[in-house]
Homo-oligomer: 168 residues x 2
DNA sequence: AGAATACGTCAGCTTTGTTGACATTCCAAG
DNA sequence: CTTGGAATGTCAACAAAGCTGACGTATTCT
């Protein structure tokens, strides 16, 4: 589309050419593979999958969250989440307790074993992220976060922003 | 781990705290969902999946590429790729021609119909990417690309860099 | 001539998503 | 106090897309 780089295009808009956008798309694809590679290796040993990792991550992040809330964060059906959650509960990694205010709800927490796995997984994932952050530097990291946030769906962005940032 | 923010930590390293890294991890997860959402909708109508999109994308990107080359870019097994490729060839979106130099190889090209679908898919994906780029600005985009590149596996990064950037 | 490479295919299995149907439990409104 | 709706759980069936292993064929390299 913008292949011809019309000479009247302002210099400041060169980063919006189709080719630049294509490189960004490919960068997302390739980077996401690296992003999941390390946890995937750990999970495979324990015969869990990415879905288990995501559940564990967000339960750790919001202890006591309800199934419904987790559902809307993860963006999957309850049947899909339930299958994952059931194995985690059976294996003693997640505790499901009946709500006190509303007894229909189940509040989810990680057990000690669950927290241990969470740490193992996120250590691996953070190691790579830390290396990437360190290599790119603080300004690049700020830009990285800005672009990712702008790429989210509106509803998703609400979830993202609602996640407590304990460092600020 | 770095929860306590030791006072002796240099200001310049604050972006490497575990909490900052966690936010980055969540940003990747949430953004990737947005990243694939638009093409996914188009693909669903035509009963194709993300795997078809990836094949189409990289065939468009490297016309005449061989099956083996595509395999190593995508990082899947030949059986998995073959299933996708077969339907694309049957449906007349991809053409497979016997190699001239080496007749064992098949060279893959998009047909006109294939190129049309590629355009439809990448237009949708680029629209979102463009909006994100525009919202974040050129410096943020540079940082975004730097962090993503640093996050890739070494082998993957070679593939990424080998992709022709027609704009430079 | 024989080994290695590139490709295709068959069969079977796994993970993770989907729909649809239906039961249970419980809160809250009438 | 009953009833409607919300939250949860479960069963069944299915699909996409990954995997392994085995095998066949054509071609090229040594």
């Amino acid at each position: 589309m913008n292949q011809g780089l019309p000479p009247q295009m302002g210099q400041s808009l060169l980063f919006l050419t189709d080719e630049q956008l294509r490189k960004g798309i490919e960068a997302m694809f390739f980077a996401y593979r690296g992003f999941t590679a390390d946890p995937d290796r750990i999970l495979a040993e324990k015969s869990y999958g990415r879905a288990h990792h995501r559940a564990i991550h967000f339960i750790n992040r919001s202890p006591g969250t309800t199934v419904n809330n987790l559902l809307s964060i993860l963006g999957v059906t309850k049947q899909s989440l339930n299958r994952v959650l059931r194995t985690l509960i059976e294996d003693g990694l997640v505790a499901s307790t009946v709500g006190t205010r509303d007894k229909r709800e189940r509040h989810l927490h990680l057990t000690d074993a669950g927290a241990a796995l969470e740490r193992e997984l996120s250590d691996a994932q953070r190691d790579r992220m830390r290396a990437a952050y360190r290599a790119a530097g603080p300004e690049a990291v700020a830009g990285f976060r800005q672009v990712l946030e702008a790429m989210m769906d509106d509803e998703t962005r609400q979830h993202y922003k609602a996640m407590k940032d304990r460092s600020e």
